[in-house]
Every structure is written in C-alpha cells, then in structure tokens.
Symmetry: C2
Subunit: 279 residues, 2 copies
Amino acid sequence: MTASSSPETAGRQALIDGATRLFAIIGDPIAQVKSPGVFNPRLAAAGLNAVQVPVHVLPERFDATVRGLMAMANLDGFMVTVPYKTRVIPLLDEILPMAAKVGAVNAARREPDGRWVGDMFDGRGLVRGLTERGIRLGGRRVLLLGAGGGGSAVAIALADAGAAALTIVDVDGAKAAALASRTAEAYPGCAARSGAPDLAGHDMLVNATPTGMAAGDGLPAPLDGLGADMLVVDIVMKPEVTPLMAHARERGCTVFGGRVMLDGQAEEVARFLRIGAAG
Amino acid sequence: MTASSSPETAGRQALIDGATRLFAIIGDPIAQVKSPGVFNPRLAAAGLNAVQVPVHVLPERFDATVRGLMAMANLDGFMVTVPYKTRVIPLLDEILPMAAKVGAVNAARREPDGRWVGDMFDGRGLVRGLTERGIRLGGRRVLLLGAGGGGSAVAIALADAGAAALTIVDVDGAKAAALASRTAEAYPGCAARSGAPDLAGHDMLVNATPTGMAAGDGLPAPLDGLGADMLVVDIVMKPEVTPLMAHARERGCTVFGGRVMLDGQAEEVARFLRIGAAG
C-alpha cells in the first residue's frame, strides 16, 4: 500500500490534534533532512495519530533541548543526525549492541517503563536495502572509503552481514586503524584492516566519505582499473548520481546510491520506533 | 478563503520536511486541546511551512520541558493552556501589559533578538468574538461567575473594552475580591466589585466557572428571573450547549458559547505569533 500520494491519507497529517503523538529528528543544521518525508507517510499508512517533526538543536544548547524533548510526555521517540549521533549517547539509559559497536545512535525510543533506549540503523539500513535488491553480502571483500560516522556504521554492519574482508581507508590513518581493530574485535570472522585505496582483491567498493556532495567534487579515490564486476555503493545522499556513481556506471558496474541506505533503514527504524506497518 | 477542507491545503500539512518551523501548545492534559485544528489550517492558508503540535508537559518536568522547547532553534512560539498559564511566566523574558494585568500568559513568541515574550488572549478573544458578532460591550454591567484563570482574563478584557460595572462572584470570596480590586485598579472607569450572583442591575452574564462541562452539571448559579434582555456568555468549550446556554435560550436571551472566544482569539494569537493572514 502506498499512501503518501492519496489526498485522504495526506489529509490525515493535516489533522494534528491534541491527541497527536510526536516523533522528532534532531540535527544541526536540520533543513536538509529527508526523514519526515519518509516517516510521515508511514505513520499515516499505519493509521497512527502521530507526526515526525524536525527539531533544530543548537550545539551550545544540546543538553537542554534534548532533555526537554525526552521530558515531553507525548513524544515517543526521535532520530538523530549529524553532528549528534555520538553526543546523544550519555543522555540515554541503554544503548543496544549495534549502536554500542558503532559508537553512535541514530534512533531512540521511550520504553513503557520510561527508560530511553538508543540504536543505530545507518549500516544495517544499507545491508537491508542491498539485500532487498538481490545483492548478496556474505563473503564480500570490501574496500571502504571513510572511517567517520557513516564509515563506522557501514563497517560494523557489513561485518555483521558476513563480509569476509574489509579494507578501511581514511586520510586519518589512525582513525582507519581504530575502526578496523574495533570491527575485527566484534567480528573475528571478518578480516578487517586499514590500508590504501587499492581495488585489487576486493569485489565491493563503498564510499562513506563526503566526497561527491559538493559541486565540483571528483572521485573519492583514484579508481584506475575499476572493473565491471565491482559492486559500487556511494552513501552520499545528494546529488542522486555522484561522480563516483557516474564513473562506475560507465565501467559497467552495479551501482547504488545513498537512497538504498535510506529505504532499507526506514523499515528497520519504523519497527524500532513502533511506527507500525510500512507504506 | 477557507482552506481547511481542500485536499491541496490539507496536503501541505503532510509535507512536513526538514525546513518546517514549529509552534507548540503546552498543557496537562493535552489531548483535548482544539488549537492545532484552528492554527494548522491558518498556517497552510498563509503558505507557511510550519505546524503547531501538542506537547504534553508533566507538572514535575515543567521547567525542563518548557526550557527545552524554548531552546529549539526552529520553534517560533507556543500557546499555553491549563494548568500552566501562570506557571510559565517566570520562564519568559517579557510579559506584555494585558498578560501582566491578568497574571497569566497563553501565548509566547521568540523575538528576533532571542528574547521570549508572553501575552494573554483569552479575554480579548471573547471581546473580539462578541464585537465581530455585533455585540456592543462599552457601558455593559456584567455579572461574572468565576474568578479563576478564565474569569481573570474575562474581567480585565471586559473592563478594557469599556464595561461600566463588573460584579465578580466566586465560591472563594477573597479571590473574587482580589480580582475586583485588581480590575478596578487597572481600569478606574469600571466599577468592579465582588458580590453575590444577583442578576438585578446587570445586562450581561458570563460564566467563567467550569460548571457545565461535566455530564449532570446544572446551572453555575441560581438564575431565577433571567430576562430576555440579558446577554449570556458561557466560556465552557464543551459541551457546545451547556445547561446555562439552554436555559438562557429558553428565556429568549442572546447566548454565546466558548466557541466565540476561541474564534475571536485565533485572529489575535495568529497576529501575535506572526502566523500571517487568517484562513
């Protein structure tokens, strides 16, 4: 059932009343977030009197704002985006295993007993989105560009999904090494190490750096000899087709953009936030 | 232009995105509030990417929740309902004159310089609503039942609108006397005093007690000898026709319910919150 385009369902969102339950998405800046456009149609489709609203949280007022949100009796959960995915952790009562391994939270919910629990869905959204598109991840040998927030989530989730090897590349070599050792420790079956952006010996390339977002950006790494058998994923959300994606398509690769991560994640986050059936 | 019933406009509310500005209404309980149904169609009609959402504020977490709301960078204002209209005052930076006279705030906005300013519209909503329906208030001799939050707002606003006399009745006689003296002090032209619920010498009766809300409620005062020339107003919002209103209609009086206060107030609050043109 797709609901977002029917006037009846769209109208439901208009019917915010005193009994409406709230979800938030917090970040700084906030205007760019896509999450309300993904979750509000789902809330409507599930027949819930609830909306997700963006909340612009200023760094210097982070604690007061987020504690205020968590104190609202009709707010059931919130999502977290840049730059707060790690900073939110100390405010929560419990961090679920995936989030603890990644060291970041992107969704939190209030439990029936009032405790706040956080989990991380960025990486597993990518895994789910790819799996739903028929991509097998078990046994993959992955070259991962970027060891920041996005890269951490992707590394842990790919290892969790059975990737055989993971080479992590970052301009900050110590950061790449730390993520590799964290991943290897949590998933001994995955040969995780830091290294150079060398495609040899890999069958999957993931860009988790911001390169490709800004106009005039080039490739996130030199990609000579990119073959058609390489699976290429760019988690950059905007533009829809990055220079990496265009380049990889020219070479005949199977290519996915950030949308696949968002789509796959929506289902998982909706379940975590108890938002009900998908649209 | 009435906009709330058109699917196009209703759909706009569905389009909550990252750039959506927020307004709130706070109270405890909150499920009964009508305000989002009044203001969201106005926001849509004004073409603003903004929504008003209910926020359930628990008494024991009042300060943390409201300070959190006020810290959100994309929240431009909030309305306040029972039981917080007085309690909110210390959190604000400036209280406008009507609110200061009433001792209560029901709307607050963030100024461009970041300061929070509160004002009170309950009573002036009633004055505007009645005036728009062709009712003259200057020179009125009013019997006012109830000296609580609603009664205080009504007393000050009617005195402000030129009422000649105001007899204030409350089971708590000291409360009635205090409101009378506050009103007389602010508006020396209005003969405000506390007294008994005696219709003689009055041409307008206002019920600002909760009597009439609960099933099985009777009249808020013994009203023998109610004549057809009495203007009768009941600010109770629900039911739409209270026992007092039914009784007064039977006697041939001109009668208004709480809706007139809400309608009249919406316009004033919308202007205060800079919500733009009315629907």
